[in-house]
Amino acid sequence: MKSSRRIATVFSLPNLTYRVWKVWLRNLDVFMKTYKVNFFPPLLEPIFYLVALGYGLGTLVQNIQGLPYINFIAPALIAISMMNSSFFECTYGSFVRMYFQKTFDAIIATPVSIEEVIAGELVWGATRSLISSSIVLGVVAAFGLVTSPLFLLIPLVAFLTGLMFSAIAMCFTSLAPNIDFFNYPAFLLITPMFLLSGTFFPLTDLPGFIQIFAKAFLPLTHAVSLTRALTIGNLESSLLISLIWIAAATPVFFILSINLMKRKLIK
């Protein structure tokens, strides 16, 4: 009885108003103040990967699914940037604002509620994903690796994927006793996803159970599939599963993370 009520409270619908955007705007203001630092990593990182892995390693690798190696990994770099930017924004970034800067304490002394603060953080994390992946998309396009007009839909995928990873990240933040704690999800979740989500080689090269595991539990797999399909214009029915996976997981983690954070902060 008690535990079922506990579960009910972590999935109760948060009461959100337009004030979510005030929190989002605060983060945008900070971002714009330091935009030079913020724009460089997503601009330079994909260039290094494309040159080193695409041109360098790529000469040793045969075509994958009819694609030159550099064309195969380019969309994955876009998807990885969605994951990294949103996940790290809502772990390290949110933790610093919550714990060291006491920014959340300052905001909840105003008519903005704690639910709205966390929702604002999540939407901001999704926005970071949109910004970073769009820069990477630009780099990939500059290398001539975008071959379908469907790429115009990638920002939509970026926002949704970013929201999902932000919400997953925020769940970890709600559990984090200190900032070093984030080494665990970074190492045990982000690194395996970075390598095992059909990013640098096709998932089909792996043993069957790993393929199933990746599709079931590594959400980056689905972001990579969608981004790759939209970059090269190769739509398949299996993409629907990826879309549904992300669309279903996002609201669940969104609501869960808000309630967990509320429980952590309001005692």
């Binding site: 004030r19 203001d29 900070v30 800067q101 006491k102 304490d105 002394a109 008519p111 309001i266």
Partner: protein
Amino acid sequence: MRVSFGRSSMGLDALIKAQNLTKRYDDFLAVDSISFEVFKGECCGFLGPNGAGKTTTIKMIHCVLPLTAGSLIVSGLDVSKRQREIKKMVGVAPQEDNLDPDFTVLHNLLVYARYFDIPKSEALKRSDELLKFFQLGEKRNVIIDQLSTGMKRRLILARALINEPQILLLDEPTTGLDPQARHLIWDRIRSLKKQGVTIILTTHYMDEASELCDRTLIMDNGIIIEEGKPADLVRKHVGEDVLEVDYGDEVMKDLQEKFPDARLEVIGDRIRVFTSQPHGVFESFLKDFPTKGAAIRNANLEDVFLKLTGRRLRE
């Protein structure tokens, strides 16, 4: 403990009313069923050692901590239900520095104003006035990191006023400041009081409480142990004069004989003599007993505080 409701009969309205207000953490009772009222336009001080429950009470008043039990009404609104409305009319200056380190002084105020839905032009106008009021005008475009502790404190106070609050909650507003900064802040608090702002203040400085507060509530271990005007409390608990003498067995005996009703307290190598006798009671003793290191001083709120809460260190 019940507090006197005398002032409401004088036509003053209770702006904040707590009844059996309780806050319990797992196995720790931070606030233990306290009842009090704060009247419109007064400056009410919450005094107490660390862990007494002052900050917890303040946080319940501005709706960031839910109550465990009891009721708390702020300006006619229930804190458990009408949080946004209450937060709109309350200004809070917390103990900790939670300014936004990424922004300048002015930008801190503007971003904060946005949380209250204050339009940009109005926010700019108010910010300019507040920065002038707290003598921060020249710092308006400086990043927070480059401010001194005193400037940060003043900015936190300015920020607490951006929504033109009816009620101002100041949690240790002058802790860690130099005397110049303290006096500037005292002066500003007095001027806000004149403008009709109701102020609740916590402090560890008894001179600050005597200086600013119309009324003080002394808390310890989650309950209110005494309540009243600072001067009344001093008279009631420690009288008017305090005699301090260097310790000596001879002197001690003599004091006990001369002032059988007095309370003698030995702290380090000094004896303090408290009495309920009126002003001037120690004059003759000082004349007959020209000991070195003997002095008469006025009794003060710190004497009351230490008498009521003891000398044991907290936390």
